[in-house]
Symmetry: C3
Subunit: 386 residues, 3 copies
């Protein structure tokens, strides 16, 4: 008899070992002895198949983690980037414009590629994170196009236990690759991760050396790009590389008020499963924390007004989420030119920009980015026609 | 003179017969003598061109209805599936992974195909439904890919008038096909439909025989699929067919709080026009009822955490929407393994799973799925590598 | 030393002239002497690179403006049109249906093409508008398909200063083209635009002559379309051209309640950056004004129920946003047949329709479209099989 009614639960320990094919599989999460985020200690009735993610104790320097869920990006993702962020940079908007810049078609927006790669790393790295502390040494090495399949890998490069015995900091270098095995973006990030068992200390500490910025002569040169025949009229602004002076500030003027549905739709698109963005029951105030990368993309998109020709991001030197962002916030952005540098991309130069996002309504560059209204402080290099 | 100002309304009966090309056209709705959902009896001023949908009296056993609005599915729909549901199953996410599983590219997610087909049937079957009562005998026979065009057809297989004289139950077998005329999914569903004229009884009753489940040896074998060279690392979990024991339960851990914009965007994507999902003025409490299929897709997507290798749904044995779902609800999911069966798909086996979605925050499998918090009780077969 | 810490702002005037390549560039905005929408007079610290948009004084009759941001439309945009509006017209939904109508594949929905072109014109024309006053002479000349790249150009054809000295009316003829330089849509619109310096009057007035409607013998004939082998069953309704009588009214029955996230997602998709749609801090009541075109697309989509065979819009004679629309409004639609005309498209005829959108719950055509509930009054021509 095959079609029987549902089996009653066996009140028994069902503990099935993770599949180990005889070899060490560093990508596989270590099995915790207890599930998280459950209010009752009823784990005895349940299998251990759902993955609670790594805790601080599960990381060690040198671990290499292959993140699951390869993702083929499509024109559907491109359309959603437009729908969710006020992007107007012509290189990502128009196949014709992209071809005039040496590319076969319009690529996937840089930070969207970052979000996909970051999202893959979340289940393995930061699903039990208390906070994302920072990014550095982010290099956008190569364009991604519709049809490419992205995968991600992280190496643990640092570890430091907090003195409170409840958590610690983990540094990883995460790399996103396409289906040809070419790196499209890589970056360092560090997160504060909860310990599974507070109190126990490992005593291990290795704080990695991180460059405060990507040096100008180490900037990536994305293959194919050529700004020699750049179309300023289509791009929307006349300002080229030499028109920007270090110290100059730009008020990007526009603001956008974020809705719950918008940030959740975007964050799911990146397959980022961090619960705090989706589950209104996790925080006492019933609010969902907006994925920090969402604010990065809003700020980058808003920067079009004054930086319309800063077509592509070459590198991120540092990024800091100054305050958490919640639905209802109106995000605005200001930029300051920090530095000009050469680029070997034909017809192009590099600008180092500091963009601050804030909910404040001020005309001036909000240099006191430590205020309660501040959301993001991002230091990065862009490519712009000379 | 052609450009005249708008014609004043002629206060006259404008009753135009539906176009009948000399032959019986069973797909065409029967013209009602009165419009629905209008507060005043002003039908005399109006034409009868808008379609109020069928009422209970309009159905008879043996009717075959060709549903309108063929729909070409694209990578845009795939991206929206990712944006609207937390899907992470690799087969649908990655062209590369899909090719390693024998397919030419990543297919459209199973339940998305169901939603498209279901949506087509709504204007003809359930637009005047009081409630969707259930699904059964649902078989996913063949993968759908970007570029395929879906059409749908239903046959009425049962009818039973309610004793209150106000409504009755209609059973239909609905079939979704691609542009080659191949069936991609078919299922039985039954709905309670309002009568146009309460009180009058037809006396006709035919309750069809429905299998309580799709038997293991009748499971579909979607052409092309081959799990012989399955990549567990990319898929994200090590658990294969033999690791799952009947009786075992899985808490999928994650929850997602649903917003009005999200469920409406999804339900429109499927071209499901049922008013109650979109019009906040229909219910006294001003709430919009979330399409039941939305909860199915959320539950299926959440089940990734513990069932990551259950790449595709082969069949649904039964589905029940235990309680209506409204925006603001945080949907969680638990699964129980009911049965293991063989599959002729190379390298694969079948698991029969019961997944319950609920807004409760409990660690244990919510077996009392009749509670107020319960949303969905779904019994289905998945394909998983051995 | 390259990696230095961020430069402190130089409190100095950074005024960089817009790039002028020796020739007059009418497309480039005139540089204002002050930024807008800032609360403090701190422009001395800032560069003038962000673009505040044109004010009334910046327009003159005969100006031709090439709008930036070319946009390649994709199947992702098509999917989003379906997700954001309840479109069910078969021509845009199915490649198979479109091929039977003479086209190579399903085209991009007409009003979506209009929204893309309109969106491009916003930064140059209406970003400082007080109100959009109207549209006329809109002709949809040619279908747009996935892969086409849209650009837009406007010519100023009229100007009239308001007696209050604070604003004036600007008339433009805007043209959207594809990558082959073919016009896909063109239209006249007029907007009330703020002056930069209230009080000063230019004395210039030229009010253009505008046709009250596109005459029947001047209707576009989109190349390729052929309704000779039209499939009424797939389209969903049996009514053809001769079934519609002038004076006849149709209640489209369905209503849809609009959410903030939905209208912002759509308006961003069109790359329309008008602040008032996105920034909840601009109005004292904290509400975001919904882009008028959003209501047009909702009304057009709802009109499927009764006008399912009105597959494509040929022309818009006039359009008026009777009242602003805000999130939470339930939009309903009614249509009245104004006129029948011939079309040289094989198998097709033209109908002139007046569609009114309103939040009122009335069964009758809401002829008193000046009521508070009225949202849109649109007079347009559609193509329908004979």
């Amino acid at each position: 008899m095959i079609c029987k009614s549902p089996i009653r639960p066996s009140i028994a320990l069902v503990e099935i070992a993770w599949r180990q094919n005889g070899e060490p599989v560093p990508a596989l999460p270590i099995q915790p002895d207890r599930q998280v985020y459950t209010e009752q200690d009823d784990s005895l009735m349940r299998s251990a198949k759902s993955n609670p993610g790594r805790f601080f104790e599960d990381f060690s320097v040198g671990m290499v983690i292959e993140h699951p869920t390869p993702r083929t990006v499509t024109n559907g993702d491109r359309a959603l980037c437009n729908a969710l962020f006020p992007f107007r940079h012509a290189l990502f908007s128009s196949d014709e414009f992209a071809r005039r810049c040496g590319l076969p078609q319009a690529p996937i927006e840089d930070f969207a590629v970052f979000h996909f790669v970051f999202g893959k790393s979340v289940p393995d790295i930061s699903v039990n994170a208390v906070a994302n502390l920072g990014y550095a040494e982010m290099k956008f090495r190569r364009m991604t196009f519709a049809g490419d399949t992205l995968t991600a890998q992280s190496e643990v490069i640092g570890i430091k236990e907090n003195s409170n015995g409840k958590s610690g900091i983990v540094w990883v270098r995460t790399k996103g690759s396409n289906q040809h095995g070419q790196t499209v973006v890589d970056f360092v990030r560090w997160v504060m991760v909860r310990k599974r068992r507070p109190g126990k200390t490992s005593g291990v500490t290795l704080v990695p050396e991180i460059n405060p910025c990507v040096e100008a002569d180490a900037l990536p040169e994305p293959p194919g790009l050529d700004f020699s025949d750049y179309d300023f009229t289509s791009a929307g602004e006349p300002h080229s590389w030499s028109d920007y002076l270090p110290g100059e500030t730009i008020n990007h003027e526009h603001g956008t008020t974020v809705e719950e549905a918008e940030h959740m739709i975007a964050t799911r698109l990146w397959q980022n499963p961090a619960r705090v963005h989706f589950d209104s029951t996790l925080r006492e105030d019933g609010r969902r924390l907006i994925y920090g990368g969402h604010v990065i993309s809003i700020a980058r998109a808003l920067s079009f007004n004054g930086l319309a020709n800063a077509q592509t991001v070459l590198a991120v030197n540092s990024g800091k989420h100054v305050n958490p962002c919640f639905a209802g916030t109106t995000v605005r952005a200001w930029s300051k030119v920090l530095e000009r540098a050469k680029s070997s991309v034909p017809g192009a130069g590099a600008l180092r920009i500091r963009t601050v996002a804030s909910s404040a309504r001020t005309g001036a560059f909000p240099d006191e980015s430590e205020s309660d209204a501040a959301l993001l402080d991002l230091d990065y290099w862009v490519l712009i026609p000379r």
